[in-house]
Symmetry: C2
Subunit: 213 residues, 2 copies
DNA sequence: AGTAAATGGTAAATGGTCAATACAATAGTC
DNA sequence: GACTATTGTATTGACCATTTACCATTTACT
C-alpha cells in the first residue's frame, strides 16, 4: 500500500476502527455505514469517510463498507506483512497490565519477551511471555528480531534502558516513564505520562465545574 | 488566577514543568533559565516562555525564573486550593500500577479509594488505598467528595461504571478502557487506549524504517 | 559611555487537524 | 422517472500548536 502521508490522528483512528469492526464482525452483519462507525466512536461520519478516503478504500454506495474487507485493508496499511515483535521492559504492575491487556488481541503485533532486574521474575513466564534479565536486552532483541519496546521501568532507569534498546536496533519505543527520553531520529518515540494525564483531567474538571456552577 | 483559556498541551507541559522543577529544587540552584527547562524536556525555550507567558509569570532577565515561585505559580493555576480526591475503579494490574506510581507524588491530588468486584480484594488496603465493592461507588464518592475517577475495569463494564460515576457527581474521568464513553458535557472526559498507542508506534516505526533503509 | 551577549517578551507566519458545508454520482425504491 | 440514502470529494473557516523572527532589557566588559 502506498500512502503518502497519514496524519497521526488518522492512524490512531484507523486502529480504533479496526478494533470496533472486529467486535461487530461476529454478528450477522457484513456491511457497515460510515455513520454507524462514527456513532460507535463518537465522531462524525465525514471524519470516517475522510480517513477511509486517505487509505484508498471505497465502500459500496448502497450497502456501506464491507466489514471484512475494511479490516483487511486497514491491516494492509498499519500492519507489516510478517508482523512486528514487541518487548516489555519492566515487569511491574504496568508491564503486567500491558501483557494481560494485550493477550490474544492482535495477531500481527505480539509481545514475545519481558525484561526485569528482579531475580524472582527472571526466567519465569508471565501470561505466556518469558521474562529475562535486563542485561540480556541486546542479545534477545537481536536474536528474536524485536522491533518495538514498551518501557515501564522506574523513571531513573529509563534513559539507560532506552540507550540499550536503540543500540540493539529497536525501531519504536513507547515510554510510560515520566522521564523524557533522547533517542536517535531513526527511532520513533512516543511518550505518555499517567500523572500528567491525571493532572490534566483534574485541571479541566475544575474548570468545567467552575463554568457550570 | 484568571486565565482566559489554556490550551490542552500547555496544561500538560505545565504539569511537566512543575515535576521537573521539583526535581532540581533540592539542589542549591534557586533560578532556572528557559533554555534549561527546555533542554530537560526536549522542547524549545520559546515554547517554555510562551507557556509561562500564558499563565502570566515573568522571569528575571539575568537570573531566569525563580524556581520556587514558578512551582507555586503553576500550582495556583492547575491545583485547587483544597485539593481534589481521586478514585480508581478496577484494582487490576493497571489500577495497582496507577496507585503505586502515584504514591506520595502529588499533595493536592490524592487517591482515596479503589473499587473492584473481586471479593478477595474488597475491604483490603492496597498501598494505603482502601478497596470497596463497585456497588458502593455512589455512596463513597458522595461521602468522601471524590471528584476524579480513573477507569481501569474490563471494557465491557466501562459504560455502566461511567454512568454510575456521572450520576454520583464525578467531575472528571480518565478512561483507560478501549470502549469510548458517553458522558454528560459537564464532566470532563479523557480517553487513552494503550493498544491504539502501541499500534501507532508500530506504524510509524515501520514507516521510519522504510524511509531510512 | 559604548557595545556585545544573553535572555525574556511578544508578534507573525506556518502547518496540522477538524467541523461544517456543499454537491455530484450512484444505486436502490416507489 | 423522481426520490432517497449513501459515498466520495472539495472547500472553507476556525482553532491550536509550533516555529520563526524581532524587540527590549539587563549585564558584563572594554
Amino acid at each position: 500500500m502506498f500512502v503518502k502521508h497519514l496524519p497521526h490522528k488518522t492512524v490512531e483512528r484507523l486502529s480504533q476502527y479496526r478494533r470496533t469492526l472486529l467486535l461487530i464482525l461476529s454478528k450477522e452483519k457484513t456491511h457497515v455505514f460510515s455513520h454507524e462507525i462514527a456513532q460507535m466512536l463518537h465522531i462524525t461520519p465525514v471524519q470516517v469517510r475522510r480517513d477511509l478516503m486517505l487509505i484508498g478504500y471505497s465502500g459500496n454506495l448502497r450497502k456501506g463498507y464491507d466489514i471484512k474487507e475494511l479490516i483487511e485493508m486497514i491491516g494492509k496499511i498499519i500492519d507489516t506483512e510478517k508482523g512486528q515483535k514487541v518487548a516489555v521492559v519492566g515487569l511491574g504492575n504496568l508491564g503486567k497490565a500491558f501483557i494481560s491487556y494485550f493477550k490474544g488481541k492482535r495477531s500481527k503485533l505480539t509481545i514475545v519477551a519481558a525484561f526485569d532486574n528482579n531475580p524472582y521474575k527472571i526466567d519465569k513466564v508471565y501470561d505466556g511471555v518469558p521474562c529475562f534479565h535486563v542485561d540480556r536486552i541486546s542479545e534477545i532483541i537481536k536474536r528474536d528480531n524485536i522491533s518495538i519496546a514498551i518501557i515501564t521501568v522506574p523513571s531513573e532507569q529509563a534513559p539507560v534502558i532506552a540507550e540499550t534498546l536503540v543500540l540493539a536496533g529497536i525501531k519504536g519505543i513507547l515510554n510510560y516513564t515520566p522521564k523524557p527520553l533522547n533517542v536517535s531520529p531513526y527511532v520513533y518515540l512516543e511518550e505518555y505520562d499517567m500523572i500528567t494525564s491525571l493532572e490534566k483531567v483534574a485541571f479541566f474538571a475544575k474548570k468545567n465545574d467552575e463554568r457550570f456552577k
